[in-house]
Amino acid sequence: MIRFVLLISRQGKVRLTKWYSPYTQKERLKAIRELSALILPRGPKLCNFVEWKGLKVVYKRYASLYFCICVDSEDNELDGLEVIHHYVQVLDRYFGNVCELDLIFNFHKAYFILDEILIAGELQESSKKSVSRVISAQDTLVENAKEQASSLSNMIAQATK
């Protein structure tokens, strides 16, 4: 089971966090601090796993961002690595050449996508196609709602004239 997902930039700035097990705010901060100290200095050729408090953290660096997931010690690390890659690919599909800036300003979108991929600490959808389908369905729905709302307000505006 995935305990939490963490996106940190190379400078140690947090870009996204998602906690699937209960952690208090204090524990979260501590975890982030410890893991940044552990992961950021690691060289590129070392392995992508770090043991941490009896759990394992699988991380992967994409450009300036580190994607980290914390899994149970019995979990398959390579699998975790691919879950990360899967997520990044979906992000890339959605944003088109995703970059750190996209994630900074659209972090809620990144959260929505993450929610479609992981639920309760398990991978729930391994098909990129269906993830993007759902997300775009939501987006169009939102668009429609906006249009409706604006047309409605127009009508009201006209009616009240």
């Binding site: 982030i32 699998d79 890659h85 690919q89 050449n97 970059c99 972090f107 809620h108 309760a120 729930q124």
Partner: protein, 922 residues
Amino acid sequence: MEQLKTIGRELAMGSQGVWGSSKEFLELVKTIGEAKSKAEEERIVLAEIESLKRRIQEPDVPRKKMKEYIMRLVYVEMLGHDASFGYIHAVKMTHDDNLLLKRSGYLAVTLFLNEDHDLIILIINTIQKDLKSDNYLVCCAALTAVCRLINEETIPAVLPQIVELLNHQKELVRKKAVMALHRFFQRSPSTVSHLFPAFQERLCDRDPSVMSAVLCALYDMILVNVKPFKHLVASLVSILKQAVEHRLPKSYDYHRTPAPFVQIKLLKILALLGTGDKAASENMFNVLGDILKRSDSTSNIGNAILYECVRTLTSIYTNPRLLQNAAEITAKFLKSDSHNLKYMGIDALGRLIKITPECAENHQLAVIDCLEDPDDTLKRKTLDLLYKMTKANNVEVIVERMVEYIRNISDNHYKTEISSRVIELAERYAPSNQWFIQTMNQVFEIAGDLVPQKVAHDLMRLIAEGAGEEDEDADSHLRSSAVQAYLQILKEPKLPSILLQVISWVLGEYGIADGSHSAEFIIGKLCDIVATRPGDDKLKGYVVSAITKICAFEKAAGQTVDLIPECVSFIEELYASHSTDLQQRVYEFHAVLKLDRDTLASILPMDASCEDIEVDKDLSFLNSFVESALANGSRPYLSDNERRGMGAMTTLASNNDAGTSSLLRFQPYEKPSIPEPAAALVTASHYSQDAIDQHDIYSSAITVSTSSKAPESSSNDGTRLKLEGVQKKWGRPTYTPEAQVPKNPINISDSVKVSSSAAGKEASSRNSSAPPYTERKQPPQEISAEKKKLAASLFGSKAGDTKAKPAAKLQQNGTSKKAPAKPTSPPPPAPAPPPADLLDLSDSLPQTPSVDPVDQLADLISVDSSAATSTTSLVEQVFDAGKVATKGPSPQASLQKDAVSRQVGVTPSGGTNPDLFKDLFG
């Protein structure tokens, strides 16, 4: 560039953000990004919190504005600040009819709240309503929230609706419903236990994503109890077969591997189902063999499947042929250049050697390479492996490695863990007491106060009891060598308290036992110990006791002790100590010094710390005292029960005549029922309860035992009495090692005894394997002699061990067989192939090593690019462009983003992070 940015910023003044967020939010992100220090960032965020607090309270905030505020709260909380003032607004937002707002509300709520938060109760109603919604997206949003927010008590409120949703027409909803039920199972298994059939039904869902969600749940359920799911083996195997044979929809392919995540999940489940079940395992062999054959070992995901397969094979009923394959895969992993694969290989090897211990030999050099790798994770994993394969004959090398490792790390969690492993191994396999003590000393020195107190007691006990045999000479040799070792250790600065405690005890007990050190010298050392740690009361207690003992020994031996000035000042100081325990000890010390020689010899006998203390429970020495009291007219003693029985009848009477003296009557006898000897004292002798306060008796008992003037201390039970006096005198037993050690019901000494008796055998076996070991060092090879030596000591003797089992065979076949028996371990022939292997490998596996100096990222992507042809995404385009341009093939897109962000005037982290605009894949 810089100029462009400023122009862009100017242009962007006042314009709305392209990312759908307001200018203000962009500004916030920007300033935080540009913050030079943590403190500055803190200040900005705090200001933001203040303004949000103010604005969110305003009446009639437009809903859209509110959504933005809440997103900003999420951002603030993500940066590690408390945003709890806004939680209620997020909850309110979930009530909204607009889907976008509702979803944002749910998102914020799931990020903010834990399942036991008070506000949850306000959301339940909304969730219930949303679960019934016609819009499947609303349903999904609610289900996502359910997974995070529903706790044990609220499960019943939503369970019926979720069960209904299991049959929803949209597969997305069915999938999330399954996940929600899975979550409920994790929270409280009993609530969904009646739903097992429903889960199994969903396993046959026509949509693979629903099926794979069921697999997650099944795994957890089977983990708890295998039995009810045994019948699923056949269907799971058939699903796995379908997945392997590319029969699932194309969209589940991942880098051309068919549905890998599903495969891995299935393999995990099968491993659970097949454990110790031959029939079930036989069902699986076929498909497992198939996977091993088909999986492609050049991609990451293929290796993930292979590794999972090895895990499954090592946990189900063994199949020699497949295990052989598993061993080959493990070998491939270990020989790989990728650290990730090495790591997996080490892990797989650890699993394999549980079944076929001999397979470790083939990989000795790879393992040693990993052990010496600069990568900490890999090193630690290798130590794990070594821990698993420790035997009596390689324990010394392995423990040495582990000790060396903990010496160099600072992480307390792992220090504790590994030192406890060292202790465990040392206790189990120690070849000699000498070695054990040395190892323990090292552990104490390094891990210090992380070591549990128990280990220190065990060590003192071992030193006190020696080998357990009757060989006094060996024991005293052991002790004097321990003393010698400790005096050596004391020269080092900064020792942990626990080690100093052990040292003080050992010096006190045995410091002058062999006569090579004078009492003054030892006492001086003890005073030095205290000087290094002025605030440590516990340690002072140990030291005072030790000094007392030494003085007593000296006086008992007829010598006078002149306390050195430091010692005197140390003692003086303690008279006024805040710790009553310490005060008591010094006063006792003082009292002991005044005693004469014979008494001293009997209250503090030399080397008696592990003699059993016999307590005279009858307190026979008090008989004459009691008799005289009775003769003087005191009332005979009544036991507690008798008194109570009487009390029922004569409460009045006793009240009357107790009157003012009721305190006197009862208090003294209720207290003593707790400490053992005192209780004995109560029941033992008959004397008047009124006559004397119990404390008086107590103290008189002590004076009786300590001052030999008392006539009662008859010669035969004199020692016993006095020993008891000693125990009492030295305060609470927890602080007195000599009282504690014998009391501790630890069987460490037993285990050490066992292992040391076993060590005899091992020693002989080691002797026999020693000659080839030295031979092995001789032939010079490319592999450094040191490494080989290490390999030999890790595996060689182990190999010898495994060979030792079929020793009967060996003997039959005579010497001809014996010769090849050795080479299989690392001796001469063996070193030759491994280097060749290593060389071969680097030639035959060009994919991985050829590019390795380049960025690992690029490396991984190049693998991806070869695999991900099926996708038509931009990702692919990026890959196609190769590694030539860092920006990838769509520089336009990137440039656009650059331009846009410049327009808005955002450069979130100023000059410090030029990668912000870089594609993550670039």
